[in-house]
Symmetry: C2
Subunit: 348 residues, 2 copies
Amino acid sequence: MPTEFALSCPLPITERKNIIMGHGSGGKLTAQLVRDLFLPAFDNAILRKLDDQAVVTAGSERLAFTTDSYVVTPIFFPGGDIGDLAVNGTVNDLAMSGAKPLFLSAAFIMEEGLPVEELARVVESMGKAARRAGVSIVTGDTKVVNKGSADRLFVTTAGIGLVPAGVNISASNAQPGDRILISGSIGDHGMAVLSKREGLEFEGTIQSDTAALNDLVRVMLEAGDVHVLRDPTRGGLATSLCEIATSSGTGVEIDAQTLLVRDDVRGACEILGLDPLWVANEGKLVAFVPAASAAPVLAAMRGHEHGRDARIIGQVVDRHTGFALLKTEIGGTRVLDLPFTEQLPRIC
Amino acid sequence: MPTEFALSCPLPITERKNIIMGHGSGGKLTAQLVRDLFLPAFDNAILRKLDDQAVVTAGSERLAFTTDSYVVTPIFFPGGDIGDLAVNGTVNDLAMSGAKPLFLSAAFIMEEGLPVEELARVVESMGKAARRAGVSIVTGDTKVVNKGSADRLFVTTAGIGLVPAGVNISASNAQPGDRILISGSIGDHGMAVLSKREGLEFEGTIQSDTAALNDLVRVMLEAGDVHVLRDPTRGGLATSLCEIATSSGTGVEIDAQTLLVRDDVRGACEILGLDPLWVANEGKLVAFVPAASAAPVLAAMRGHEHGRDARIIGQVVDRHTGFALLKTEIGGTRVLDLPFTEQLPRIC
C-alpha cells in the first residue's frame, strides 16, 4: 500500500476560505467539496453512490437522471463546440448506467453582448447532436447577465433515460477478474480545447472526440455482461479508474503499453508537460466486464464507429484495494491518483 | 382588438446582432428568442407547447421534467437565497403540471474566490428546501471559472415529477367560463430582491415569498377540477396571464380591485415606477378552474398555509382571444402585455 496517500490528503473544505479553480477539477478538491459540503446537506442514499448519474425509481420505471454545466472556453473548438459537448456529455452520463437516453433539458446563461450568431450556431449544433443521439430537448431556460458577469455562454444540460429491466451498471460493481476495456485513444478532447485556447499550432489540428456513446453501449450490452461503464471526461482515464477502484473496493491494474495516444496528442502533451492519462475525453468509455464477456464485448465495440480502436487495457484485482496502478512502459509500477487540483481548467 | 400590438412587435431575433438583457426578461424578447432560435433547432412537439415543464412519457409513466438557471443578485436576500429559490422554483414548475415532484439535480457554476462559507450556506438552504418540499437532490455537478468570468454563483436545477393518471394541466387548457384564482399577494419576491440590491430602506423589510407549492397543488387537485396552473415568476402575473391567453386561444379578464398587493410592496413599486403586475413572485400560483370547482378549490387553498389569501381575480371569456385585459380601479380597461424587455434584471 502506498503510504504517501495519507500525506497528500488536502485540507478539509471547511478550512479553506475560498473556492479555487481546483474545486472544479473533478479531482481531489472536487471530491472533497462533494464529501464535506454537498453530501451532508443533500444527504440521501442515491447521491451517496457518487455515480455520474442517479438511478431512481419513478412509479414503475427505473430512470437515470444526470446534469452537467458546461463552461468550456473557447466555446468553439476543433471537432465541436459547447453545444454538442453538452448534449453528448449528458447522453453519455445517462448511457453509462446502461440507460436508454430519452429527454434532455437545456439552460443557457448568456453574457449581455453575446453575438446572436454564436448562440444560433451553438443551438443548431445542440439540435443536430440531439437528433444524432436519438434524444429530444424538451424543456429549457434562458437567462442573461450583465456584461462582465459571465464569460459569453454557459450551458447546463440535464437528462432522463430509461434503465432496462435487469440492467445494473455502477462504478461500485467492479469485481476481481473483470477485464478493463477502453473504446479508443485518450486525451483528444482536452488537448483539442487547450491547443485552440492557447493558440498553439501543432502539426495538424487536434480534434475533440466529442460523441454520443449510447449506441455503442447498446451493442456492448447485447454482446455480453457489463459491470461498470464510465466516460473518462474531466480528470481523464486515471481519475475514472481511481474512482471505480474506490467505489467498488477493488484494485485496478492497467498496462501503459496497451494505451492508445494519438501522435499529435502525445506531442502536445509533451510540449505542455501534461500526461494524457489525466486529460479529458468526451467520446470514450471505459468498461469493466467479466472475463467471459471480454471477447464478445470487445468484438462488438470494434464493429461500432465509436469503438474501432477498442482494446483491453487491464484487469481488476483483489489487492491494493481502492487504488489503480499503471505498469509503465519500462516495466515499473506507478500509482495513479486523483489530480489534486486543476490540470486543465474549463475544458468542459 | 387593440391594434397597437402589431406595431410593438420587436425585431426578429435574426436581425439583432447581440444578446441584450431583455432576452432574459421572460417577456417579448425571450419569447422571440425561443420562437426564432430554439424551437427551430430543437424542434419537437413537447417543446412547442411552451409550458414551464415538459410532460413526457418514459416507459409506462408520465413524467414532468423542467430546468431553470438561477442568476439572482444578491445571492442572499430577505426571505431566501439563490439556493432555496432554485429548489422551490423547480419544485413549483413540476407542480404546475399537477405532477408530484420527486427528484432534483443541482449544477453549480462558481466564481474563483467565492467564500466557501457562502457556498455552504446556499447548499444547506437547498437541502432544507428539498426536505420541506419532500424531494431529493440526487445528482449534481460543480464547475469553477476564473475570477471575473462569473458573478459569484449560478445554480441550475432540473427536476423530475410523476404525473398522476388522469391529470392533464397545461397553459393551453383554459376554457371560457373558467374562474381565475390566485393564491395570495403579488410582487413580493421581485421587490424583496430589488430593495436589497439597491440598498433601498423602505419601512420594514420586504420578504421574498419563495416557497414550494406542491402541497398546495395537492390539496387543490383533491378539492376540484383544475385546467391551468402557473407560478407567475419572471414577468409577473401579467406575463403568465398573457401566455395562458395565447396558449389556450381564449380571452382573460381580471379585476384590479381583487388583487392583493402588500403595502410595503406597493410603496416600493411606486417609488421605483414599477407595476406589481409585472413583478416576479416565487411562492404564488394562478389557477384556472371550471366555475363549478371554483368554490371548493378556493376553500382548499385558503385552508393551506401557502393559500391563506387566495382569491378569485377574474374569468376566461371567448372574446379578445389571446389577450388579457385588466378592469382598472377607476372602471377603465387596460390591455396587459408581455414586457418588451427587462423591468427587473436578475431577480431569479
